[in-house]
């Protein structure tokens, strides 16, 4: 959709940015506080982007997304308690998250959008409680993990996961899966008629949106070296994920990135003003209301102009391309 020269410039800028970010932690005079902030920004970009897969592209608002994060965190915690080295636990986290996604997805993906939201939310709440009841992983008092001495390790881990997530979503956006997801989002019945296997596609998207938070959760657990259920399964983490995507622009590749950076920036500013967490909760809620009322397409939507949603334009263009294929095949 962009002309070739601009594409190239974009790519060069991105590569330069990545190189800059990779070199950054080697600058010893940089305060470690910034390294931590940037690491958490990476994590949030990854989380937001993965929520975008099911929430933005597929139009199914998953209000229980922190479930996968929490499962990843506890998987790493429990496995490390059993003696398995850290890096090995991460692939296992992704497998468990995928399994959980299938378990949750089977009953919930059949539901219409609104019910899906509450159902996934309910799942998250109940799993949070269940985690407090299992004594092996520490119950309410949490689970400690062995400490690691180099904070830079997490910077790079999160960086890698973030890049992978973004690339994956970029390719989803351009490919067949993206088209099917957008079709489902716009009108599921029509998508079914066109020949999209809605359930399978939704399940695929759901699983993909689960594995990256799972891995992030695992990294997070080792990074903090102490996890407890009300934190990793926290509904607020889900809320923040959702806000970032909605704020930035759901259903776009760059939206969650914008949203994550914006939101973390905002949060740091507000945090220094009101230290009270209860005000923060109200602030989050108001953010939701604001986005729903005024900028449902996010900042990206505002920037691109509210008149015609780029998503609609996107779909119409893609439809002509793909329908062309389908129709000509039928003519054989």
């Amino acid at each position: 959709m962009l002309k070739v020269p601009k594409n190239n410039i974009n790519r060069i800028v991105l590569v330069l940015l990545c190189i800059f970010l990779i070199i950054l932690p080697f600058n010893k005079s940089l305060n470690r506080y910034w390294i931590r902030i940037i690491t958490s920004v990476f994590m949030w970009i990854c989380l937001a982007q993965s929520w975008n897969i099911i929430g933005g592209y597929c139009g199914r608002l998953n209000f229980g997304a922190s479930v996968f994060f929490g499962v990843g965190a506890y998987t790493t915690g429990a496995l490390m308690k059993a003696g398995i080295p850290f890096l090995l636990t991460l692939p296992i986290c992704s497998i468990f998250s995928a399994i959980l996604a299938i378990i949750i997805g089977l009953p919930t993906l059949k539901l219409r959008g609104a019910y899906f939201a509450i159902a996934t939310w309910a799942f998250a709440e109940v799993l949070k409680e269940t985690a407090t009841l299992i004594p092996y992983i520490g119950g309410t008092s949490g689970l400690p993990l062995p400490p690691v001495l180099q904070p830079e390790l997490f910077y790079f881990l999160m960086f890698i996961v973030m890049i992978v997530t973004n690339l994956h979503v970029h390719f989803i956006n351009k490919g067949k899966l993206g088209y099917e997801l957008k079709a489902i989002r716009e009108d599921e019945d029509v998508a079914e008629v066109i020949g999209v296997d809605t359930f399978k596609v939704k399940l695929k998207a759901f699983i993909l949106s689960a594995i990256y938070p799972g891995i992030c959760g695992g990294i997070f657990a080792q990074w903090l070296t102490y996890i407890f259920p009300t934190d990793v399964f926290s509904g607020f983490r889900t809320d923040e994920m959702i806000i970032m995507v909605l704020l930035g622009g759901k259903g776009t590749v760059i939206g969650p990135i914008i949203g994550a950076i914006f939101f973390i920036g905002f949060k740091e500013l507000i945090w220094t003003q009101f230290a009270s967490s209860s005000f923060y909760i109200i602030f989050l809620g108001l953010f939701f209301v604001f986005v729903a009322l005024f900028i449902p397409d996010g900042i990206y939507g505002v920037v691109r102009g509210k008149k015609v949603s780029t998503l609609r334009r996107d779909i119409i263009k893609n439809t002509k391309y793909f329908l062309g294929n389908i129709i000509s095949k039928k003519e054989d």
């Binding site: 919930t108 959008g113 109200i282 009322l293």
Partner: protein, 289 residues
């Protein structure tokens, strides 16, 4: 155990009201109110507030009408209808909107009321009816609560059938466009409907405050319960909602009786999971889901 069953029945009628509130707002307004539980929390705190003045919390019930009907009306007209009309992803955004309300209410509850557990003191506390033959005792409070539940349901039913506005609401639920053609000011009537839905939810909250621990996070439990009832009953099917409420009440009290309070959520939820796997559009009648 019979005691547990009776308790469950009484609480169940209360849960039915909650289910009705959610059902009303969804089937008519196409708004899935994610803030149901938090409105209950608000109602519960009103009950506690009233009891601070040594008054019975149930006295607050008429007050709930006065407060929540205008509040609901305004919220619908100003926020919800705007979001519904504004965007092509309107319904999705109402979820976000009501979720925002839920979060704001929870945060406000935390700030204004603090996280200590409270309970409203009713003069009926401690009094009970003993039925010697069957061997159960029914606390007066629970009995009144159960009766309130039934009263509200009957009241709502009569309102919908007999009054002019009730007829308007039913007309809208059958065919919105035809209702508009008939001259019904749908926006205003829907605003009123949302107000009513909030009011009955808040009344449920007031009633709950008399025998349940009240704290800002309690909304999450009741949103879960409301959802359970609506899924079980199919949307908009009133007898189903009533039955759903009663079943929920029974599950809750029987689980507390046989196992422990802690497992109630998980049990309710496992039930819900099974129902969703088998028949997501409801068991008692297939609603649209």
């Amino acid at each position: 155990m019979l005691q547990a069953i009776v308790n469950g029945l009484l609480v169940g009628s209360l849960y039915s009201i909650i289910g009705t509130g959610l059902s009303l707002s969804f089937s008519l307004l196409h708004v899935i109110d994610m803030a149901v539980g938090d409105w209950i929390m608000m109602g519960a705190y009103i009950g506690c507030f009233v009891s601070l003045f040594k008054l019975d919390p149930f006295i607050a019930i008429p007050g709930a009408f006065i407060i929540f009907i205008p509040v609901g009306y305004l919220i619908y007209r100003k926020f919800i209808s705007r979001v519904l009309k504004n965007d092509f992803s309107g319904v999705l955004m109402t979820i976000v909107l009501t979720f925002g309300f839920s979060t704001v209410l929870r945060g406000s509850g935390l700030i204004f009321f603090g996280s200590t557990y409270r309970r409203a003191k009713s003069i009926l506390l401690g009094r009970a009816i003993d039925l010697p033959i069957i061997g159960i005792r029914i606390p007066m409070v629970r009995l009144i609560v159960g009766l309130i539940g039934i009263a509200i349901l009957i009241g709502l039913f009569l309102f919908l059938k007999k009054t002019k506005i009730g007829n308007a609401i039913r007309a809208i639920s059958q065919d919105m466009f035809a209702a508009k053609l008939m001259g019904i000011k749908t926006d205003k009537v829907l605003g009123l409907t949302y107000g009513i839905s909030l009011t009955i939810t808040a009344i449920a909250g007031i009633a709950l405050s008399s025998f349940v621990a009240v704290y800002p996070e309690m909304g999450t439990t009741y949103t879960l319960f409301a959802f359970f009832i609506v899924v079980l009953a199919g949307v908009g099917y009133l007898p189903g909602v009533i039955m759903g409420g009663i079943i929920l009440g029974m599950i809750e009290s029987l689980t507390s009786y046989f196992f422990s309070d802690l497992y109630v959520h998980i049990t309710v939820f496992s039930f819900l999971y099974l129902v969703l796997l088998i028949s997501p559009s409801g068991i008692f009648r297939k609603g649209e889901i």
